[in-house]
């Protein structure tokens, strides 16, 4: 136990540095040079790196288990495969994937600068902009659903808003890919954002309607400014209580957040179409109009013409009265 060396008294700064470098990925032998950590999740860390061959910044996602861990490696492979399959403006493009010299699975993707929706949602953001973001998310998820892919962990912190307003859906590590077996009894997702069937341990057979539930939960969070409760009944009650919000928007969220998945939108495309109708001021499928509402909406749409006609009639009445 006796030793004498210059470093024996490790300073607090050295302890912090050692803790941070202990898990740095070994990029020797690759064309990438590590720059800094830019994100950390439960199972993986994302670093900014430099691609020495192409001379550009990239992001490298590396498993948190040096030497490899079967479940984490499988997640990384799944995520890389999904990103490669989904060539869409709403999905970060993947450039490379493999195993590092220290045994960790990794993949390289475009380095995107932006803000997480979770952070943005807490800031001042116009209501229409919030709905626009969700509509963009629905477009991306509609593309994924068309390829048979279910994300299974959509939430505000898994969405990045880029510098030009682009909406990127990220963290596809627990996505379900067609042809791959589901996990029996597994609970995959985040409380408040996962569908009741996922919370009940049936993540293995969660289909695109589970993502629809999560999109509804994100809409709830964007409208209400807080994470939705984990119990679907409490979510519906919370929506019903917010009478200050547009009725048609509440209806869209309510339909997406239905406990019975058969009552939800069948996929993200259908939900996105309803959001587009809301933004255009048209009736939404989630809530058919009654005749009074239809009349009021028509009157509003033709308000200029109706105003001119009424003014003309008023003028005729005044002229007739003056004449005699």
């Amino acid at each position: 136990m006796t030793r004498a060396s210059v470093w024996t008294a490790l300073s607090d700064a050295s302890l912090r540095r050692l803790a941070s470098v202990a898990n740095l990925p070994d990029l020797s032998g690759t064309r990438y040079t590590l720059r800094e950590e830019i994100g950390r999740g439960g199972m993986a860390v994302v670093y900014r790196a430099h691609d020495e061959t192409l001379g550009r910044a990239v992001a490298i996602k590396v498993s948190s288990a040096p030497g490899g861990r079967a479940d984490l490696d499988a997640r990384m492979r799944t995520e890389a495969k999904v990103l490669a399959l989904l060539e869409h403006p709403g999905v970060v493009p993947v450039h490379d994937a493999g195993v590092l010299p220290d045994g960790r699975a990794f993949y390289v993707m475009k380095h995107v600068r932006g803000t997480l929706l979770g952070d943005l949602a807490r800031s001042q953001l116009a209501a229409d902009e919030r709905v626009r973001i969700l509509e963009r998310m629905c477009e991306t998820m509609a593309f994924a659903h068309a390829h048979g892919i279910v994300h299974r962990d959509l939430k505000p912190d898994n969405v990045m808003i880029g510098g030009f307003g682009e909406v990127l859906v990220m963290d596809w590590g627990v996505a379900r890919i067609p042809g791959e077996p589901g996990e029996a009894g597994a609970v995959i997702g985040t409380p408040g954002y996962m569908a009741p069937e996922q919370a009940a341990g049936r993540s293995g057979d969660a289909d695109q309607r589970a993502d629809v539930y999560a999109l509804g939960a994100i809409l709830f969070a964007l409208l209400v400014g807080a994470d939705p409760p984990a119990e679907p009944e409490a979510v519906q009650a919370g929506l019903a209580a917010r009478r200050d919000l547009p009725r048609r928007l509440r209806a869209v969220a309510g339909k997406a957040l239905a406990t019975d998945r058969a009552a939800r939108y069948s996929d993200a495309e259908e939900m996105g179409a309803d959001l587009a109708r809301f933004r255009a001021g048209r009736p939404v499928a989630a809530r058919p109009e009654i005749w009074v509402e239809r009349a009021a909406r028509s009157a509003w749409a033709y308000r200029t013409a109706i105003g001119l006609v009424l003014a003309y009639l008023a003028m005729r009445v005044v002229v007739a009265w003056l004449a005699g």
Partner: protein
Amino acid sequence: MSGSFPPTRLTVLARIRSPVPDERRDAFGPLIEAYWKPIYTYLRIRWGLPAEDAQDATQSFLASAFEKRWLERFDPSRARFRTFLRTCVDRFAMNRDQAARRLKRGGGARIVGLDFETAEGELRERPLEDPVDQDELFRHEWIRGLFSRSVEEVRAECAAAGQLARFALFERYDLGPESDLSYADLAQDLGLTVSQVTSGLAAARRQFRARALANLRAACLTHDEFRSEAREILGIEVE
């Protein structure tokens, strides 16, 4: 892989509870190695004991823990081992007059090989501040001991393999004060290529990681605790 858990480690708690003294002693040794210094530092800082008293108290505590089989009471479902140990130290320190009398009577074995001189030297290099959170203080000193042992083992491995240049890189870049030193600067200073710096540092960090995990494993009584500590201290997921 480094995260795999040797079957014998699963029985550390069981071996601590063994009725066979030799078996208990074997299990106790690595724990002394891992915890004597944080205990000593904790007694110096938190309890304000002078160096000599803290040395006696550390010796007496460890001997009593073994003889009286205090560690058998550890319940993994209630707390982490280091928290349990720190609580034992607090209780012991509160009753240290009694312990001192026992020592004077010649009671209590002494554990050889505890390098109090070095420990005291390390303490002299930094202020003896008593943080509000005593559990955090003990944890911090425990991590310091864990990392110090691991770094020393990396140095010994490098020396044995004739690769002290690799350790010099590690020492310069990762153990020294924070600096803006780039890999290119380091390469120029040490007469290496940037590629050699990159691979040398990666190898040294890999060695450090392996040693730190092995030492952490030795200091945890259950696999769940090891997994949880590895995640919190090193950001590493182990199976």
